[in-house]
């Protein structure tokens, strides 16, 4: 009986009939399917919609506190390991749209000045040029000498939903991050961490070398960015970035019972990167555990 059954696709069989392995692969399939249904970059939506998704009082209080700080909009991004780079790239370019073309020209000059680091890091020029092209073209189109129509939030949204453009920009940012980390290895090496029990780092006492870190955690596809990658990328490009951390931290012990004080007691932590940069712009990224979106006022 069960042998007839096992011919069916996993999602048409009874959950109780599946082996652990089959349940695991089904979960994986569903996750991948779910992720691929979501656009790479969504439209801006009201921030309050986020409240509908949470029952947790700490989260709800934090969302309310963001709204009081006049953060009103949210642009959701697909939740894969690339979401920090995707969020960063989108907001980096979107913030240039209302600025004078000289801002994009400056940004492009900054990127160009970093290209020698890519060569130093050992990346082949003809390989990284392919990944650089889409970002360079967008910066050029936003610059003063462009003969093309100036990108708008709508056209940028379309560009970022083109898989190839989006992938290329993300890979290019990963390469910049890696090259900057390698070039400033003395500053960053003390902060390297390894995944516990990763056998590759056992011989080195658990911490990867800069080269290993960059290969496995920066250049490899779909690897999430942590504090160190974010620091390196924002510093490399001198782009002021702030991230709102929407997480469990700061919840009063025992939760928000009667008399635990007003919800206003709970604030969202904003972490600023590259705070010395002069241009303090209005955008921010919103972090929820494991995921980044773009936040708007």
């Amino acid at each position: 009986m069960s042998s007839d059954n096992s011919q069916l696709p996993l999602d048409q069989r009874k959950l109780s009939d599946l082996t652990d392995y089959e349940v695991a692969s089904l979960t994986q399939e569903l996750k991948a399917e779910e992720a691929s249904k979501r656009p790479l970059v969504g439209e801006v939506e009201p921030l309050e919609r986020l409240s509908d998704e949470y029952k947790n009082e700490t989260f709800l209080a934090k969302i309310a506190s963001l709204q009081r700080d006049s953060w009103t909009g949210l642009r959701r991004l697909r939740g894969d390991g690339d979401c920090f780079y995707r969020a960063f790239a989108f907001s980096y370019l979107e913030r240039l749209i209302p600025l004078p073309p000289s801002a994009a020209q400056l940004a492009l000059a900054k990127v160009e000045s970093l290209l020698p680091l890519l060569d130093q890091a050992g990346f082949q020029k003809d390989i990284y040029d392919d990944f650089y092209e889409p970002l360079r073209d967008l910066l050029l189109a936003l610059g003063p000498d462009s003969k093309l129509p100036r990108p708008t939030a709508t056209s940028l949204h379309a560009s970022f939903n083109d898989t190839e453009t989006s992938n290329a920009i993300i890979v290019f940012l990963r390469l910049l991050t890696s090259a900057f980390l390698r070039a400033n290895a003395d500053d960053f090496t003390p902060f390297l961490f390894g995944l516990e029990d990763d056998p590759r780092f056992m011989l080195e006492g658990g911490a990867p070398t800069m080269d290993q870190f960059c290969s496995f955690h920066v250049e490899a596809v779909n690897k999430e960015a942590d504090h160190i990658q974010i620091t390196a990328l924002t510093r490399a490009l001198s782009v002021y970035t702030r991230i709102a951390y929407l997480d469990q931290s700061g919840a009063p012990p025992g939760g928000f019972g009667a008399g635990a004080g007003e919800n206003g007691d709970v604030k969202v932590d904003f972490v600023e990167f590259e705070g010395e940069s002069e241009e303090k712009l209005n955008g921010a990224l919103l972090y929820r555990p494991g995921h980044y979106d773009v936040l708007y006022r």
Partner: protein, 236 residues
């Protein structure tokens, strides 16, 4: 798709340019498609694979270079991280640590260096890994022999000067065992000439060893068991 093909075409051309230097070659399986390739590289020097040429089946997925190349050894190779049966490879850069900066050529170079630095603790072929960890000498000898038979490495003038004819059958027995990837220590103990004799009848050496072990066909016991019993088992 357009940039995928542009890049692959460029990679193949680049590799042809410096193949005389690197010894690495790449050719298209179908002249008008950039989906499948066959790559070759020389076995690394100072390893049992030295002198051999290794052929790799390469498949570029539609999402290349954002998705990893699929690679498999066509040439049989005796190595802890390569299946001795199917040629499947256990190498993280072809899976979770793939990066879009990797190319056909750099991946072939990585496979070449995998041959010099096995990772027996993360094996693809558990049997081979076990031999690697327990008896390096035997591992090296088998790997070298496979390199000669399958990868065209020149037969080494054996270090102790033993020639083919001297103890020829014995040597052949060991070789038959090595070819089948079985422990030649066991084959030897069973009496290599006997293993060869049955193997020459066309039975798979691995099976021959299995049956001889099962029947305890060795030394004084041989006569008692009789070769008919062995054949019967082999045919069953």
């Amino acid at each position: 798709m357009a940039s995928r093909n542009k890049r692959l075409a460029r990679e193949v051309a680049d590799c042809q340019k410096d193949s005389s230097k690197s010894g690495i070659t790449i050719r298209l399986v179908h002249p008008d498609s950039l989906d499948k390739f066959v790559g070759t590289f020389p076995g690394p020097q100072g390893t049992p694979y030295e002198g051999g040429t290794y052929e790799i089946e390469i498949e570029a997925p539609e999402g290349y270079p954002f998705q990893p190349l699929k690679m498999r050894f066509i040439t049989k190779v005796y190595h802890p991280n390569v299946s001795s049966q199917s040629g499947f490879i256990c190498l993280d850069i072809l899976k979770t640590s793939w990066s879009p900066v990797f190319t056909l050529r750099t991946c072939l170079v990585s496979l070449q260096s995998l041959l010099s630095t096995p990772e027996p603790n993360d094996p693809q072929d558990a049997e081979v890994a076990k031999v690697y960890l327990t008896s390096r000498e035997r591992f090296d000898e088998t790997a070298r022999y496979w390199a000669q038979v399958y990868a065209g490495a020149p037969s080494s003038t054996s270090p102790n000067g033993a020639s083919e004819s001297e103890g020829g059958e014995d040597k052949q027995g060991r070789r038959a065992a090595q070819l089948a990837g079985i422990d030649w220590g066991i084959a030897d103990e069973l009496g290599a000439p006997w293993v060869v004799r049955f193997a020459e009848m066309g039975f798979e050496p691995r099976k021959v060893v299995e049956v001889l072990q099962l029947l305890n066909y060795r030394a004084d016991n041989r006569e008692r068991v009789g070769h008919e019993a062995v054949l019967e088992r082999l045919f069953s």
